[in-house]
């Protein structure tokens, strides 16, 4: 099992032994405590990959930004992508929904397997792909529409449904995004009139209304205040299981708080990837250790 949990066990037992003489109660408590983590780790590790990057390279014009990235995004889990500015975190997840293709000079090579199928194939239906792989951006991006119409936007694009069903799905998406109570009286108000944090959750509601399989979050809390940040984090935690989440974040605390897996990027390379608890307590690479202990970045 994981070395981190093992290390924690040794530490706890030694502490218990030091404080007073061997006590069975203590050991039982420690066992229960560790058992919980071990089970969690075991479950996390058993999760199959929903999305796998294989030998992924990326170029801005002639400049290579990503080098031979290999990464599995576990189904139903939260995978955090951390690293210093400009290390290619955002670039990496922007390949997953092929949004980078809006810009002519950007190019990806390699494979990204979504349920085993390479989504970089030229034959991939981008509209279908983007319905399955939703994206939340750094800044809230409410459309110049009402709160209701913002959430209904994707539903109207992809499905034909009676008004009553539309209402239901908008409401359910807002509830899942933990926003419904705050906006139920202003559904016809402009989306941009909400606070920054509410706008971001509105965008999440808009995205999950489509019931995507994967949710890509590109530093979703970098433009909102701490309280709103906490809400978005709680939201992400509540959404996992139903959704596979990949979140790019500047904040290591955020990665440690909410993610199950973490990948550490540095200069376009994936330096280390593993269970979050493992990576933060027992990094295998020197660079990872330097970064998470705040020596650079």
């Amino acid at each position: 099992m994981t070395a981190a949990t093992d290390a924690a066990e040794r530490l706890l037992r030694r502490r218990a032994a030091e404080v007073e003489e061997e006590d069975d109660d203590d050991n039982v408590r420690i066992d229960a405590f560790l058992h919980h983590f071990r089970e969690e780790d075991k479950e996390d590790e058993a999760a199959p990959a929903k999305l796998s990057a294989r030998n992924l390279n990326f170029y801005y014009g002639g400049q290579q930004a990503l080098f031979e990235n290999n990464l599995d995004i576990a189904e139903g889990k939260i995978t955090a992508i951390i690293g210093p500015s400009g290390c290619g975190k955002s670039t990496h997840i922007r390949i997953y929904n092929r949004i980078f293709e809006l810009y002519g000079n950007q190019r990806a090579e390699g494979e990204v397997l979504l349920d085993g199928k390479n989504l970089l194939d030229p034959g991939t239906d981008l509209i279908e792909l983007r319905r399955r792989v939703g994206m939340i951006f750094q800044k809230p991006t409410p459309f110049p529409l009402s709160v209701f119409e913002n959430v209904a936007y994707g539903l109207r694009l992809h499905f034909k449904m009676p008004k009553s069903e539309l209402n239901g799905r908008v409401e359910s998406a807002l509830k899942k995004a933990a926003l419904f109570e705050e906006v139920k009286d202003k559904l016809d108000k402009p989306g941009v009139a909400l606070s920054g944090g509410q706008q971001q959750r509105l965008c999440i509601a808009r995205t999950i209304a489509l019931e995507p399989e994967i949710l890509l979050m590109d530093e979703p809390t970098s433009a909102i205040d701490p309280v709103a940040t906490r809400k978005v984090e709680e939201l992400a935690e509540s959404l996992k299981g139903n959704f596979t989440i990949a979140i790019v974040t500047h904040s290591m605390q955020q990665a440690a708080r909410i993610s199950d897996f973490t990948a550490f990027f540095y200069k376009g390379h994936i330096v280390e990837y593993g269970l979050t608890r493992e990576l933060f307590t027992n990094p295998k690479q020197k660079q990872t250790e330097d970064y998470i202990t705040g020596r650079f970045g």
């Binding site: 981008l126 983007r130 939703g134 800044k139 529409l145 694009l157 402009p190 941009v192």
Partner: protein, 320 residues
């Protein structure tokens, strides 16, 4: 050396207070100049048209009789011509400009966008007399020979497309006007669309929207204010355009339903008749025509601004 530069800088700070005052004074004066000129023009127009206002009263606006010999002046045909030619121009130029701007920003490869964009900007620099001459000598015959027969053949059941196929007339004036304002509207719209943040478009595409859907739901909505600004710019030019319209509108004082018929606009009438207005009442009537044009553009501006305010409030501000 160090000390020297220190004092120099310090003196700079000291004087900067008074230079700031001067700077502010100059800029304020320049800004005020605009208002003064505007008010001055309005006042002199009003003053000079007083005799005509007293002479013709309100019927000036509702009569189409224009007979300087018997001192009968009615502006209706000119107002109608101005509005009609402008409406034709806007009807043609706005959708076309929008499509061009969207192509340049959203669809064209950067190089193509640059070349086409520059060409359109050059079009804006062509003097209006050139449009007038080209309109009269090249375009009007073309209209008469090709476009108007076609229109009357297929749309001839509409009163709009009946009558003599002479080439010159209301429709030709409108088309020439459309060509003239097209570069202004499309370049401003291009800049507006280019200013819509990429991340907003990405959000649209990220939802699985097509280019068309992103364009209509994000880009256009986001840029609505700037787009209306662009249209206003074009409208302002079209409504007062003189030279080109005078050449091709036909200069008749009548009002016809048919767009093939000749007409006149306020600006074309002024250009045609100022030189021969020897009688003070005639002159005053022309001044009043100018006043009407001035008020029309002014009123248009006010209405649009109010409407924009409403749009802005409805969408929650934060628009371009």
């Amino acid at each position: 050396m160090e000390h020297h530069s220190q004092t120099e800088r310090h003196q700079g700070w000291k004087t900067s207070k008074s230079t700031d005052m001067i700077f502010r004074g100059i800029t304020a004066a320049c800004a005020a100049l605009v208002l003064i000129v505007m008010a001055g023009i309005f006042a002199s127009l009003l003053w000079n048209s007083l005799p005509s206002i007293r002479h013709s009263g309100i019927s000036f606006l509702f009569s189409k009789a224009w007979d300087p010999v018997s001192n009968e002046f009615g502006a209706l045909s000119s107002i109608y011509g101005t509005l009609m030619s402008t409406a034709i121009a806007m009807l043609l130029a706005v959708p076309l400009s929008m499509v061009i701007a969207l192509f340049l920003v959203e669809l064209a490869p950067p190089k193509v966008s640059y070349v086409v964009g520059s060409a359109i900007e050059l079009l804006a620099a062509v003097p209006s007399i050139i449009y007038g001459m080209w309109g009269l000598f090249v375009f009007a015959p073309f209209m008469a020979d090709h476009i108007q027969p076609l229109l009357s053949k297929y749309l001839g059941w509409l009163p709009l497309f009946q009558g003599p196929e002479m080439g010159i007339g209301m429709m030709t004036a409108g088309i020439i006007l459309a060509l003239m304002i097209l570069p202004f509207i499309s370049t401003v719209m291009r800049d507006v669309f280019a200013m819509v943040p990429d991340v907003m478009k990405e959000a649209g595409y990220g939802m699985g929207a097509t280019t068309w859907e992103v364009t209509k739901d994000v880009t256009i909505r986001y840029g609505i204010q700037g787009m209306i600004g662009a249209c206003l710019l074009g409208l302002g030019r079209a409504i007062g355009e003189t030279m080109a319209v005078t050449f091709v509108i036909g200069n008749s004082s009548d009002i016809f339903i048919s767009l093939f018929e000749a007409g006149n606009s306020i600006a074309s009438r002024l250009a045609n008749e100022f030189a021969e207005a020897s009688d003070p009442m005639y002159m005053s009537a022309l001044m009043e025509l100018g006043l009407v044009l001035f008020l029309m553009t002014f009123g248009l501006q006010v209405v649009t601004q109010l409407w924009l305010k409403r749009v802005k409030r409805k969408m929650g501000g934060d628009l371009l």
